[in-house]
């Protein structure tokens, strides 16, 4: 009887130990490309988005009388901005969520956990513009699909944009509701609204 249990246990362990679970690709988007198809479909000349010329920062606040804002940024950002003359016609940005960074290491680790960005399951985020409507020569309303934490939602935000054949300067500040992207943890303590600041200086 003991030998039977031993053999059975060994058989189970060998099966489990030798078997490889298929790698979960659900949250692993394709590698960011400098020339995404959707952006280059638009008219114009591509401008490469790099970590050197682009910053994406965010600020979250606590619920209650003491907001104690906490800010951070994504250090690895790539993508393409299409420029036609002096106007931007398309924006396509890929964000490496594992590059999230704050001044406090414990906060950075917490943001990477399943409590917030869950970077192991969702290692990338993406923004693809669908329209850029200019109000005047330098201000525009950018509309597009933001994919974050595995959820894709349409967002619109105002932006100040100046562009030429060789350079793009874009600045925008707007707010998203993290719960719309499935980041629902801790709303009793941390506000759902998160302020984003996007800056391109190239």
């Amino acid at each position: 009887m003991r030998r039977f249990f031993g053999l059975l246990t060994l058989a189970v362990f060998m099966t489990v130990g030798c078997g490889e679970k298929p790698i979960d690709e659900s949250g692993d988007a394709s590698a960011p490309a400098g020339a995404d198809d959707s952006a280059t479909d638009a008219d114009g000349k591509p401008f490469a988005v790099t970590p050197e010329n682009t910053t994406i920062k965010f600020v979250g606040i606590h619920v209650g009388d003491k907001p104690d804002p906490r800010s951070g940024e994504f250090k690895q950002v790539t993508g393409t901005i299409m420029v036609d003359g002096d106007q931007v016609t398309a924006i396509d940005i890929d964000i490496d969520t594992t590059s999230v960074s704050t001044d406090i290491e414990k906060l950075t680790n917490h943001l990477k956990s399943p409590d917030f960005f869950d970077v192991n399951q969702f290692p990338t985020a993406k923004f693809e513009s669908t329209s850029i409507d200019y109000d005047d020569s330098e201000t525009a309303t950018v509309t597009g699909n933001l994919t974050l934490h595995g959820e894709t939602k349409e967002v619109s935000f105002p932006a100040t944009i100046t562009a030429s054949e060789d350079s793009v300067n874009l600045k925008s500040e707007f707010t998203i509701d993290r719960t719309e992207f499935g980041m629902t943890f801790g709303t009793d303590n941390v506000a759902p609204e998160v302020s984003l600041t996007v800056s391109v200086e190239g």
Partner: protein, 281 residues
């Protein structure tokens, strides 16, 4: 980021209330099967979904924790039925260990240790914890076993909070709360074998929480902290149910309980030391 009032109520009091209510109701109807494991699992699952700690439909490895705990309670209940042979109980335990390991170990590249190694370790833990703790539960009456399991799970919740996820810490707190409920019930209902069938639930809950917590942690909490927590109640294997007037048995019992508490203390201490310093937020 402190816990809110709803976190305390839903995560701490709700599982106690659900567990107590179900045990009480089943006792009133004099069911001929032991409802304690399923009552405990129901309390844990109620807290997890009330706090929305996992989605209803699992889509990634740690989402399977509630289902794994439910399966463990079911296996524990079935394995302790009078007509179930020991060989069947063993087979069910091994299947539970292998199946939950398959579900809870993440399927991503670059795991350290590797995925298969983690699956084997998880399965070993569940088997090594389930059978010995089950024998203890059948021999002892009173609060000693649920108290140590509650203490181990509470220590596990502290480790999970230190490792950087309050979500997993809340799951650990809910698991600790159901064993605290069992501790309270055992004080009023001193019956030998009261904890029959609960060992697989403890094994899967404790080991599973530590596994998913570490797999999703970016902290410096050492592997030893995650490995030690589930093992804490094992010294009870050497506790005798006999009594003697010289006090030898009591002294031995106190020593073994002290060892169990020291294991939890060591695990938590290592985690605290690893995360000491640095700015708080």
């Amino acid at each position: 980021m402190p816990f809110s009032v709803s976190d305390v109520v839903l995560g701490g009091l709700l599982p106690i209330a659900v567990t107590w209510m179900i045990v009480g109701l089943c006792g009133r109807f004099r069911a001929d099967w032991n409802a304690v494991p399923l009552a405990a699992a129901a309390g844990l699952i109620a807290a997890v979904f009330a706090l929305q700690l996992t989605p209803w439909v699992p889509s990634t490895h740690w989402h399977w924790l509630p289902a794994a705990c439910a399966a463990a309670a079911l296996v524990g209940t079935i394995a302790e039925l009078p007509r179930i042979r020991p060989v069947v109980a063993w087979v069910l335990t091994i299947a539970l260990a292998a199946g939950c390991g398959w579900l809870l170990v993440p399927a991503r590249a670059g795991l350290e240790p590797s995925g298969p190694a983690q699956m084997v370790t998880f399965a070993l833990y569940v088997i090594v914890l389930s059978r010995p703790l089950e024998r203890i539960g059948q021999r002892l009456d009173g609060p000693l076993l649920p108290a140590l399991e509650w203490f181990a799970l509470s220590g596990g919740a502290v480790v999970l909070a230190l490792c950087g996820s309050l979500r997993f810490a809340q799951i650990g707190i809910a698991a600790a709360a159901v064993f605290f409920a069992l501790l309270l019930i055992s004080l009023f209902r001193r019956r030998i074998g009261f904890m029959r069938g609960t060992a697989p639930l403890y094994a899967v809950a404790a080991t599973g929480c530590m596994l998913v917590g570490r797999a999703n942690s970016f902290s410096n909490v050492p592997l030893a902290s995650y490995l030690l927590i589930p093992l804490a109640p094992l010294p009870l294997c050497f506790v005798s149910s006999a009594t003697d007037e010289s006090g030898t048995v009591w002294r031995r019992k106190a020593l073994l309980v002290g060892i169990a508490l020291a294991i939890v203390g060591l695990a938590v201490g290592l985690a605290v030391a690893a995360e000491m310093g640095g700015d708080e937020y």
